[in-house]
């Protein structure tokens, strides 16, 4: 009884810490700016502290996600027969528990070396204290995976045993020096296919590949730390929190109302509204699946009420869940900017027209369905539209405020992201009062931290794999190999489309950007493709991956949200996939769509 209460308190503390770290990331940059302009005193180290808080949110969020069984995994495990699940779950859990322990030991190595070096974040806080969250959280994750591997004590003991072996291996790279990595990696791939967390496969593979090359596994946490604390990285969790606050507040209802009064009079108006509302939300939530989960049912009911066919509605909503990834400030654009070292604002501007093209294509398909079907329309009423817009003004103003802050040079991407968080907090908690200020807010922020942690830990571990590829000079060799086979730019682009389609089928968009972009960027430069155009076509191409099996996130989320068989969802989304593929081809072969607007504004 006492132990139970102790565990509950510890869990609440963990939740509170993760949520506080996330909110502090939003408040620190704004407080620093206000204090400096009003009182002339700043907060020393505000920038570096926010960068390190990203690392804390990533690992605390992932630790809570492990506790709640919400670490992102491939959905392929759901296809297994029910009777296999205890066995496959035990296998996945046992293998998965070993690698976070290995990475924890490697992380500890990094922390100890950093401690000896004695660098500071700012105002006397050492860097190693910032890094310490990695080994601590990874130990927690390993223990939780071992605990959940089986419901029997003997199974748990075995999983704990593999964790201990992993922990020992994390500081003994020499054992594997010169060994073959592939049997281990094959084991990881199978474990991930039957339900092991994605981050384990990426980080585990990276550690193994380094170790067989005779390099300490600490190379992986070092790469994770490098990416997680890079200066623009805080923008990703901050914009995601903004999207989450909007989705959890009443923004979806208000925005649906706005776009209905604006477009409801058209043939297929409701379908158009769905595409636009989904794009608006995904822009902020960054394709993490929040759109389908938060808005799916609301929009589905609106479509059915207005007489749209079941299959059409399912396809539209499943496909629209990833629309908006090309609009500022979508997460993939920011991530591409960080990995390819391109200015984020140029990607924001470059993505506008291609993003609108994709929304327009889906909207046109919706209008065609509306024209042919017996769907109902409503009259356009200026006063109703005005009232709806007025009611939702705080949410509608948000993208305008963010873009204006960026293009006028008033704020950096991170400051703009922090501003959007404060804006959304004030709107949802103080103005609309959709989210209560106390426990309810804490719960919302904590759920968001869990989601972000799940994504950021994947990014961090993917960076480990990238670091190994650079170390083994793979981008350079790929460049030489491709250049010896392909001469023409058009053939290269076609091969790129096909390659990215396959990547999209196998990898989630986040790790694909971190791992594949370093391979593609030198190739793009060699074939004379503008780096901003390359980024937009890369993301648009990977957007298709949300709708392709086996990893297609939207397919699984839609199946879950609408409670339909996966096959039915997949069949319903085929038309959307075809339409989006058409858009991707246009974006790829008409660079002007991306670069025209940039030229126009003189960038």
């Amino acid at each position: 009884m006492k132990a139970g209460r102790l565990i509950a308190t510890a869990r609440r503390g963990e939740d509170l810490l993760a949520a506080t770290a996330l909110v502090a990331m939003g408040i620190l940059p704004i407080a620093e700016g206000l204090l400096r302009s009003l009182l002339g005193i700043g907060i020393p180290g505000a920038g570096p502290f926010v960068q390190h808080l990203t690392l804390w949110v990533a690992f605390l969020g992932a630790a809570v996600a492990a506790r709640e069984d919400r670490l992102l995994a491939l959905a392929t495990a759901q296809l297994l027969p029910e009777s296999w699940k205890p066995a496959t779950g035990f296998f996945a859990g046992t293998v998965s528990a070993a690698f976070p322990a290995l990475l924890a030991r490697a992380g500890l190595e990094m922390v100890l070396i950093e401690r000896q070096a004695g660098a500071e974040i700012a105002v006397g806080v050492p860097v190693w204290v910032g890094q310490a969250v990695m080994p601590l959280a990874l130990i927690g994750i390993a223990l939780r995976l071992a605990w959940k591997a089986s419901s029997w004590w003997s199974g748990r003991a075995l999983a704990l045993g593999t964790s201990l072996v992993g922990f020992w291996l994390g500081a003994h790279a020499e054992v594997l020096d010169g060994a073959a990595a592939w049997p281990w990696i094959a084991l990881l791939v199978v474990a991930t296919a039957v339900g092991g967390p994605i981050f384990v496969a990426l980080g585990g593979a990276a550690a193994l590949l380094f170790m067989v090359d005779g390099i300490p596994a600490a190379a992986v946490p070092v790469a994770t730390y490098e990416l997680s604390t890079s200066p623009i990285m805080p923008a990703i969790p901050l914009f995601t929190l903004t999207g989450f606050l909007l989705a959890e507040g009443g923004a979806s209802q208000r925005l649906l109302q706005v776009f209905r009064t604006l477009f409801g009079w058209m043939h297929g108006g409701t379908a158009v509204v769905c595409a636009v509302v989904c794009a608006f939300f995904t822009t902020f939530t960054g394709g993490s699946g929040v759109t389908i989960l938060a808005l799916g049912m609301l929009l589905f009911e609106a479509l059915k009420r207005d007489g749209y066919a079941d299959r059409f509605s399912l396809g539209l909503l499943t496909g629209s869940g990833s629309l908006g990834l090309l609009f500022p400030p979508a997460l993939p654009l920011i991530l591409y900017g960080i990995v390819a070292q391109q200015p984020i604002e140029h990607l924001f501007i470059g993505g506008l027209v291609p993003g609108m093209l994709l929304v327009a294509l889906i909207a046109a398909w919706g209008m065609r369905a509306g024209w042919r079907g017996e769907t109902s329309r409503q009259r356009f009423e200026p006063t109703a539209a005005g009232a709806a817009i007025w009611k939702a003004k705080w949410e509608l103003a948000l993208p305008v405020v963010v873009v204006a802050a960026l293009v006028t040079g008033y704020s950096t991407p991170v400051e703009a992201a922090a501003l959007s968080v404060v804006w959304a907090l004030v709107a949802q908690v103080a103005i609309y009062r959709d989210i209560g200020p106390g426990r309810e807010l804490l719960q919302v922020v904590k759920r968001c931290a869990v989601l972000i942690g799940g994504v950021l830990i994947i990014l961090g571990m993917a960076k480990g794999l990238t670091s190994w590829m650079v170390d083994a000079q793979i981008p350079m060799r790929a460049l030489e190999a491709v250049q010896s086979v392909i001469q023409s730019k058009l053939v290269f682009l076609l091969c790129l489309n096909l390659f990215l389609l396959v990547v999209g089928c196998l990898m989630d968009i986040f790790s694909a950007i971190v791992v594949v972009v370093p391979l593609i960027v030198p190739l793009g430069a060699a074939y004379g493709i503008d780096p901003i155009h390359l980024g937009i076509l890369f993301i648009a191409n990977l957007e298709l991956g949300y709708l392709t099996p086996p990893v297609g996130l939207n397919l699984f989320l839609a199946a879950y949200r609408f409670d339909r068989p996966l096959l039915e969802i997949w069949r319903a989304s085929v038309p959307v996939l075809v339409i989006l593929a058409l858009g991707v081809l246009l974006i790829t072969y008409v660079p002007w769509l991306t670069l025209g607007l940039l030229d126009l504004v003189g960038r």
């Binding site: 700043g42 020393p44 180290g45 920038g47 570096p48 190595e109 990094m110 070396i113 950093e114 070096a117 660098a119 974040i121 700012a122 380094f210 390099i215 300490p216 600490a218 190379a219 070092v222 730390y225 490098e226 890079s230 200066p231 623009i232 900017g337 960080i338 070292q341 391109q342 200015p343 984020i344 604002e345 140029h346 960026l406 293009v407 006028t408 040079g409 008033y410 704020s411 950096t412 991407p413 670091s467 650079v470 170390d471 000079q473 981008p475 370093p518 960038r603």
Partner: protein, 318 residues
């Protein structure tokens, strides 16, 4: 005697792929291979592909990388003494810099050695100048400018702020948009970099007095260094020394050429309203860095060596 086992030296550099610095390292690498009968193989990761300077230092510490060509940014991560080379208006000429480096080399070698590194040679990044959108002729004008400072060096940012300047800490990838949106309108960089990154088009006024040379060094971890036969080490150092001479001359010439090329494309060279006053004020700020941004011992060593060199050369001039 037994054949020595081969040593692969993995070396990262911030220098862009194909740049003069990268070529100099490649040249040194082939010299190393020749001088050691193929025992030492240098593998270079150019253009920051192995990470920024702090990341590269971290990767050397854990044993992922063996060597690096880094500027004082990364060197100061190893030991803060290297911040002494960031003191503004410290050197008047390359001759002065070379003479001071010869003088203080044992001190900095000792500092590196305490942290597990070996100095291979010094490198020269060129002279750093102030580039700005509007001409800046006085320190008061500089105080009004929105000055770019690299995100990550918080001490420096705070120092600028405390002295009444308006630094804007940005990620290096944000410099271009920062210039385009007007978030920053002044920066300190070398002519070669200002030209190759095309920054000078947005900040077309270059102050004629350089703030200082951009000092760098090529360093190796002791761990890797000691895995090489002692006899071979001497040959490696000799090749590194040769490379150092070549790169100093090469960059000096390239920097000058960059200024001429940029002038043809609209660069304007700005002079101080009062050069003596400009110097005096900056030297006053430099003095305040002692014990704050630069460890007092390193500050004293470098400034004393500089004074000594300057007295000797002033003496021989007259």
């Amino acid at each position: 005697s037994q054949a020595a086992s081969p040593v692969r030296v993995k070396m990262a550099t911030m220098a862009p792929d194909g740049s003069a610095w990268h070529k100099a390292l490649e040249q040194m690498g082939s010299e190393w291979r020749r001088a050691t009968d193929g025992v030492v193989e240098l593998r270079i990761y150019p253009g920051g592909t192995a990470g920024d300077e702090a990341a590269v230092v971290r990767k050397m510490r854990i044993g992922q990388l063996d060597a690096a060509g880094i500027t004082i940014v990364g060197l100061a991560e190893v030991d803060a003494a290297f911040d002494a080379f960031g003191i503004p208006m410290l050197f008047r000429s390359y001759e002065e810099l070379r003479a001071v480096l010869d003088e203080v080399e044992p001190y900095f070698e000792q500092k590196l050695s305490e942290k597990g590194f070996v100095l291979l040679n010094w490198a020269n990044g060129g002279w750093a100048h102030l580039f700005s959108d509007e001409p800046i002729r006085t320190i008061d004008e500089l105080k009004r400018a929105k000055l770019y400072v690299s995100a990550g060096d918080d001490d420096l940012v705070e120092w600028w702020k405390d002295n009444g300047f308006k630094p804007r800490a940005l990620a290096p990838t944000d410099i271009l948009t920062g210039l385009e949106t007007g978030m920053i309108d002044a920066m300190v960089t070398t002519p070669l970099v200002a030209m190759s990154m095309q920054w000078f088009k947005r900040v077309p006024h270059m102050h004629h007095l350089p703030l200082g040379p951009l000092v760098g060094a090529n360093v190796m971890t002791k761990r890797t260094w000691e895995s090489i036969e002692p006899a071979a080490r001497q040959r490696l150092l000799a090749a590194a020394e040769e490379s150092e001479k070549e790169i100093f001359d090469k960059i000096a010439a390239d920097d000058q050429e960059a200024v001429e090329l940029m002038k043809q494309r609209g660069l304007k060279v700005v002079e101080s309203a009062d050069e003596g006053e400009w110097r005096r004020q900056l030297e006053r700020y430099a003095a305040e860095m002692r014990g704050e941004l630069v460890p007092a011992e390193a500050y004293d060593r470098v400034t004393r060596a500089r004074d000594q060199v300057r007295r000797a050369s002033d003496g021989s001039d007259s």
